[in-house]
Symmetry: C2
Subunit: 133 residues, 2 copies
Amino acid sequence: MNIGDVSRASGLPAKTIRYYEDIGLVRPARGANGYRDFSEQDAHKLAFLGRSRSLGFTIEECRTLMSLYEDRDRASADVKALASEHLDRIAQKIDELQALKSTLETLVTRCHGDDRPDCPILDDLAGRKALTG
Amino acid sequence: MNIGDVSRASGLPAKTIRYYEDIGLVRPARGANGYRDFSEQDAHKLAFLGRSRSLGFTIEECRTLMSLYEDRDRASADVKALASEHLDRIAQKIDELQALKSTLETLVTRCHGDDRPDCPILDDLAGRKALTG
DNA sequence: TATTGACCTTCCAGCGGCTGGAAGCTGCAT
DNA sequence: ATGCAGCTTCCAGCCGCTGGAAGGTCAATA
């Protein structure tokens, strides 16, 4: 399998796959012409990586997940711990974004948004504490 | 005002303030010793930038917001449009993260998390469609 | 056989928004 | 005189790619 094939199969850009090889996430064989030659297993690994990344795991977490995946004696608790940590971070990020969102919503609502210069959004950014005072 | 003073006043690291000068967001004067010499206005600008950044606006958006802030003839509609766009992006990000979160929650819940190797999380990452099938 | 054109290779640079560290100068207190 | 905090510049690195240049390869077509 050339890189294009495995790219289409996994949905990952060829550039990304080369990058993953660079950082040691996959180690495809090489043909006589120097082309990378991906096995089914490589393709499977890449799909695993793509799915993990799409769930927001960092590259290093993906590396860990892969090694857990390949370790037949792993404890599922290890995987669960990793995923739970990740989940916590996501939940926290959501909280932060929601706080941001409500602040911005208040500001946007208060701004009349016409051709006059008076603007509560800028007032707030300038520290006039339009929201709190 | 030296950079340390304005750093404490604005809450921005000195490094960040130097970076902001590099990219033209502030243009502090220079003393005879080569030290940056920040005016009250500079300090105010930096506070504005800090607040804008903390609300998640990109540097380029901050640049625009600053120029709108400094333009006495601006239309508040321009500011509102910028903030609304930003708000939309945040809302979208929240949606994405919430989808992620519920997927991960399902996976984490299904994983017994003990010392046995069987793990629905890894199964899903490997494409066994534990969630959908 | 020559020429497309798609595909592959490597290498280097850049994105955003800082952040760390080295090497060296200044300013002030002791 | 010494020490130390604080300032300067410059270069490199973080993450996870992504773009582009310059060139080799392969299969099909004229």
